[in-house]
Structures are given as structure tokens and as C-alpha cells.
Symmetry: C2
Subunit: 307 residues, 2 copies
Amino acid sequence: MRATIVAATIFLASAAAAQPGAWRPMPIQGATEPADVIAHSAASDWRPIAPENLLVMDLADGGRVIIELAPAFAPIHVANMRRFARAGWWNNATIYRVQDNYVAQWGNGDAAVAMPEGVVAQPPAEYERPIAGLTARPLGFPDSYAPMVGHVDGWPIAWDPGRHMAWLTHCYASVGVGRDLAPSTGTGGELYAVIGHAPRHLDRNIATVGRVIEGMALLSARPRGTGQLGFYQADHGEVPIPIRAARLAADMPEAERPRFEVMRTDTATFSTFVRGRANRGGTFFQVPAGGVDICNVNVPVRRRTAP
Amino acid sequence: MRATIVAATIFLASAAAAQPGAWRPMPIQGATEPADVIAHSAASDWRPIAPENLLVMDLADGGRVIIELAPAFAPIHVANMRRFARAGWWNNATIYRVQDNYVAQWGNGDAAVAMPEGVVAQPPAEYERPIAGLTARPLGFPDSYAPMVGHVDGWPIAWDPGRHMAWLTHCYASVGVGRDLAPSTGTGGELYAVIGHAPRHLDRNIATVGRVIEGMALLSARPRGTGQLGFYQADHGEVPIPIRAARLAADMPEAERPRFEVMRTDTATFSTFVRGRANRGGTFFQVPAGGVDICNVNVPVRRRTAP
């Protein structure tokens, strides 16, 4: 740390626009703690996840990773994924890439596996969608990447009011579609989950198709690959992690289906939750932040007891 | 996703201030890729890390985690850490807590280990410091938590021009001091590193003392603890990860010292680097974001060849 004679000298970056100084956090003392908001929520504060939007991936070592799909944002890629699941595409596939502070990726990799019938081999770039039809709740705090961020139906999104387009934000546990260079958008057969700080620079550059809602540690706690981009290298003794099977909950016997619900994001309860995430208190925190970023809200998801 | 008849209805959160709509990203096509900025940097674009600011932690299984200390932000806690290192405090200590998307924590835990001589048992709350004396480079993009963010001497910081105070931001790999409830600030004997999305709500609530600059995966890829807050539970067969020793590089024989350098953040080169991080291009990215958050800049750190 170089001490300077000029105290608090601030120099502007020549290349970057000056940071807007208008916004100041307004911390709230005594905001309800997020855990208490969940504990006191009503049944109507939650929406169930439809079984056709639940992808259940069983690893060969016994672990289970469960993913909620987002057909409203990437309908063709998600339709492909349902076909992949029904054709057993991921049965005996592997997790073959784990890059620290970035992603874990799985699928058949470069294996020559026939494309299941009905899969759209070259989907359009479903990287964003019209905002029309979405009822979004603005987060209420600035974002470093987009003019607006907020939530719709439990999903974290960003949008551009000028272009009238919206997209899912890349947050921890977001699931996206691996792709080659454009014009490839990927099919949905190769997937990744974010295991580090939100790589928001991927937003609008890749099809985001869902998020892991249970079993994240089965992806995030894996050894990192030593190859470029974290690919496992066989000649370094790095062994891809076998997937036993991935199915839609809709295709499982009803008694075996996992059931989840997501906190609705269009309710007063969710606003209280956001306020709590932005103003942590309780016995530990001394200073509430008065702000929260879109990827640190962590919309609650839980096991559903009712059918 | 509920379709609504009212297209693009935006409702404001009652509790949160409206998100400033003034800022819009201004994407730059063809910005120099971050890797190319590093490749073409000059020796003068880097500052070496002094050996008294390098904490070298050797794990019993052979791995090495290296931490740069930040005495300018938490001088008493860092002085404590140097005393802990010299007294062998972390020799035979363990990593005993790994919480997914949050932190890995190590030290002596609840073991009854005598405090080394000279350690300040109850340091003041070094959670922020006066901005006077710091020459900060504003990031140039909005932040969700603080009025201003940017870099000083290679460190990501936030500051409040109104209160004239600055603090290190909690980013991936940030190292902080575990503490009990206030008035405890922790001594520096128990430490954690961030292994997930930036937990910025910890900013100004805890002493941030440095960052891991090498060996992050030795912390982030560990099994998550099943106890509350990710603590390992012996009765669940979870075994804390033993640390063989932690020393300051300054206390190692000169020939054995690891040497690192950090990209200076007060240069035109760094401004080009930030522009590249905010506007990813190359062959993969189709749409540059035109923005980046303080924790996704990832100030370059590398091994130093010159002594």
C-alpha cells in the first residue's frame, strides 16, 4: 500500500465511464432475517415446480443433482433436454470438466453418440427473449452489468427496457448449455453449472436453461481439472465422474418423484425476503449493507410436502 | 412462468428503493482480451509482494495455499497473524468448516491452545479504514452494495465518499478473520476464505485480511461439512483436513520463498484490463457486457521470476 501525500486522490479511469454516484445504500436496521421470512411464510407464498421441469441426475456414486428447467427462457433447448433425458442421453455420460471459480460441465463430450430423434441439432440463439409477457419485480438496487435486474417467477433476470429484452442471469448454480463457437448454440446435451462467483459476462452469450436446486456440492466439491478450462486429463490420472442416469421427474413413478417449491417473487413476502438479504442483522451482523446483488438474493427453494 | 395479459408489467418493491435507471452499459466491440493485456504488459505494470505479506500454508497432504496479507486494511489483525505464524499456531491446525457457496475455515477451532506472546487478544474492529492515504481507481460501473468501488494497490475495495471510509470487498478467495459475536473481532488465529459467490454482506462486518493467490482449489474442492454452517461433524465421519505448517515467506530460507507479483491497478494497462473484463470478446463471446462487477475483475497475480 503506497501512502500518498495527496489524501484520498481519486483518478478516473480513462476508458471507463465514471461510476454513477447518485445511488447510495439506505441500510435498514432490524430487517427481518431471511430465515425468519421463510419460517413465517404462507403456503401461498410458494409455487410448486412441475415434474416436467425437474431434471433428476443420479451419479454413479449415489449422489443426486436436481435441476429446475426454465422453458420460458430457452424453450427449444429445454425441449431438446427433455428429449435427451427420455432417450437416456446422460445415462453413462460423465462430468468431464471442473474449472475452479467457474463451471462444472457434463455430457457425452466428444464421444460419438447418435443424436436422439426429435432433437433440434441447431437451435436458435435463445440467449434472451422479449420482456413482453413477463411480470418482473425490480430488485431495487443497481447492477454492474444491466440497466435493470430483478425476478420473475422465482428466476433472477436482467432486462433492457430500451430493447425490450430480458434474460436469465448467470448466478451460482445456474445451468447453461455448452456450445462450440457460433453459430453453434449447443443442443442441450452438454451442460454446465456455475460453481463460483457469478460469471455474468456469459449472460446473453449462451443459452441458460435452469438451475441446480439440490446437490450443488456434488458438482462444486469435485477435484478441479488440470487441463485448459478445467477439462479432466486422462493422462494426468483425472477420472471423469460417471452419471448413472438423468430423467425428468415426470417420467418417474409418482411415488418416487422428488417434489419442490420455489418462493414466489411477486409477493410482499418476497419483498420482505429481499429486504432481509440486503440488510442482514440478527446477532452476528453489525452493519446492514443496504443493498444486495441479483446473484446473492438466493430465491428460496425447498422440498414440498404436499403433492 | 405465468403469462400475463399486461405485457412487461413492472411493479416496484414497496420496501426497496427504485433501481437507478440512469446507468446503461456501453459495450465495446473488439476490446483487448484480458489474457492479451497480461501477455503484453511491461515489468513496470506489476508490483512484487513483500515476503512479510505472504503466508504460506502447507497442508499435510502436500498441497500449498498461499495468501497475500493486507496490512493496510487490518494492521493489528495482520500483525497478530504474523505472530501466529511465527509461533507455529497453524502447525497441526485443521480446515474444519467448508460451507458450499460460502467459506472454508481453518485454525485451531475450539482446541485449548495457548495464545502466542504478543498477540492482541481483542483487536479493534478493523472493518474499514479512512480513505485518506489511499489512491483509488474507480471501477467505472455501478455496485449493488456501495456508493463507490474500485481498486487500490491491486486490492478490490469499496468506499463511501460521504463518510470518507474504505474497506476491502469480500470476493472469491478473500480471506477474513473468523469471530464470535461482537465485541469479538477474532484474533486472526481462525481464518476463512470465500469459496463461492461474493458474500458482500460480510463487508464491514468482519476483518478482511488478505486473499488466496495460489491453491484456492485446495480449499474450494473439499467436501462440504454437513453440520450447521458447514462445520465438519466427527460423528458423521467427516474428518478435518490437517495443516502441516503455515509460515511467512519472510521466515523461509530465501531460496525456498515463493515469489509473486500483482498487476498494479494505477496504470493504463490495468484500465485496459478492466475494459477487457467488462467487454469479453475473442472468438467465443458474441455480446460484450459493457460492465463488470468488482469481484469479477480478478486482478492478475502471477509467479515472479525476478527476485
